[in-house]
Symmetry: C2
Subunit: 241 residues, 2 copies
C-alpha cells in the first residue's frame, strides 16, 4: 500500500522512530499496526527532521489486511492524531519503494518577512525582519541548478559517502509578507534546504554578493555556507515517481 | 494606553478572567502588571469566547508607568507567550474606552469546504464537507443588514435587556477551499456570528430557502435559527472608533 500524508511537525521529533521520543513514523506505525492487527513497518520518501512539516509525504508498507481500498483512508484517519492525515491511498506493486522509486522530492521554505511576528504563523514559517533582495537571491540560487557536490550545504555532523545531488528546479516568490522558496531535487542531504535558504538570506541582505554562491558551492565546505535556519518553515510538498 | 492585539484562542478559555482558568485577559494583565510593577486592569472591545482568535482586538488601561512609547511594544511582547502579540501601541486620552468608544466590530468566520480536513487548518477554520450555495447564502444574509432584534441569533443561556443591534456590512467569499464570512456591526450578542453562520449553512445546503432567514430573524426565538458552529473558525479582525 502507498499513502500520501500531510502532517504538522511541530509536536514530533521528526519522522524516524527513536526510542522514547514521539515521532511521526512511530505514531503512524503504531496506529497502522493496531488497525490491521499485525506489525507494520513503513518505508518513507523523505525522513523529515523535528519540526518539519509535510503536505505530500509518501510511505509504503506491506500488509495482509483485507480492508477494502475505499475504507483505508477513513479507517486510518479515525485513529490518527489530528496533526497527521492520510490524503491519498493507493495499491502499488510489490516493486514500489517510496524511497528508492522516487524520482524527485520538492520542498518549500516559508519566511514571514515583515517588522513583527505573527501569532498564526509562529509554527508555520520563519520570522525574519531583514531585507530580502529577491532578485539577488534568485540570481545566486541559479548556480545550484544541475548536478553538483553539495557538501557545503550538508550538516557537518552527518557522514556521507556521496554528496552529489541534482537540483531540477529552484524558485523564489513573495506573496504579501510571505516569501517562499521551492526546490526540487532527486534527493536532499541533511539540512540541505535550511542551509541553502540560510545562505540566500545573507545574499538577500547584501552580506554576500550573488556570485559568491558559486564559490561556496565549489568549496565543498560546510563552514563556507550560511547558518541552518529553523525547521518550522520547511515543508515536504511533493514526491514524484 | 491603547493596545491592538493578535492572539490565537486555541489554548485559552476565552478573553475574560475566570478563576482557575487560563484566559487571554488573565495572562495579559498578569504580564502587564509585572512589567509596570502595579496592578493593571484592562477594558476590552470584544470579549471573545474560548477558542476564538483575534487579529485586531483592542484594549485600554491606565498606568503611571514612565516606559517610553516606543519601548512598550518590544517590552510587552518579550514577556507575553507566543500566541499573544501586541501589534500597535498608542497613547489615548482618558476619555477613551475600548468598549464603549467602539463604533463597530468586524468578525470573520473561516470554513474549510472540501472533502477532507487539513492538518494545518484544524485550529483556524471549521471543516465542513457539505454543499455551500454561496449565492443563496448571500441572498439570505442581506436581510440581516440594518437595525433588528437579533434574539434568534443569541445564545439562549444569556439574559439580555436589549437584543437590538445594527449590522453594517456582511460579505461572503470563497478563495480556493476557504469560504469566509465577514460581518460588521455596532455590537454583537453572545454566539451571534456562530449562530448566523450555522443558519446560513442550512441555507447553503438547501435545507432552508433563502427567504426563510427573514422569518427566523423576525421570530426573535433562538430555537428557530441553526446550530452554533465551533469557535475555532471565528476571528475578531477589527474594531473601529
Amino acid at each position: 500500500m502507498k499513502f500520501v500524508l500531510e502532517y504538522e511537525g511541530t509536536n514530533y521529533h521528526g519522522w524516524q522512530v527513536q526510542p522514547g521520543l514521539i515521532t511521526v513514523q512511530g505514531v503512524l506505525e503504531d496506529r497502522l499496526s493496531r488497525l490491521v492487527k499485525e506489525e507494520v513497518k513503513t518505508i518513507v520518501a523523505g525522513r523529515t527532521d523535528a519540526g518539519v512539516h509535510a503536505l505530500g509525504q509518501v510511505v509504503n508498507f506491506l500488509t495482509d489486511s483485507h480492508i477494502p481500498l475505499d475504507s483505508w483512508q477513513p479507517a486510518i484517519n479515525s485513529v490518527l492524531p489530528e496533526d497527521i492525515r492520510v490524503k491519498e491511498v493507493e495499491e502499488v506493486p510489490l516493486s514500489f519503494n517510496a524511497r528508492s522509486s522516487a524520482l524527485s522530492r520538492r520542498y518549500r521554505y516559508r519566511i514571514l518577512n515583515r517588522d513583527y511576528p505573527s501569532v498564526f504563523e509562529r509554527n508555520y514559517s520563519y520570522f525574519y525582519r531583514g531585507e530580502m533582495e529577491l532578485d539577488a537571491m534568485r540570481e545566486a540560487s541559479r548556480c545550484l541548478l544541475g548536478t553538483h557536490n553539495f557538501r557545503s550545504f550538508c550538516a557537518s555532523i552527518y557522514e556521507r559517502e556521496n554528496f552529489i545531488r541534482t537540483v531540477q528546479d529552484i524558485t523564489l516568490n513573495r506573496e504579501g509578507d510571505i516569501v517562499s522558496l521551492e526546490i526540487e531535487a532527486n534527493g536532499f542531504l541533511p539540512h540541505m534546504v535550511r542551509i541553502i535558504v540560510g545562505t540566500l538570506l545573507d545574499i538577500g541582505r547584501g552580506k554576500l554578493a550573488p556570485n559568491e554562491m558559486r564559490d561556496i558551492l565549489s568549496a565543498e565546505d560546510r563552514k563556507r555556507a550560511g547558518r541552518t535556519i529553523p525547521a518550522r518553515g520547511l515543508y515536504l510538498i511533493e514526491v514524484r515517481y
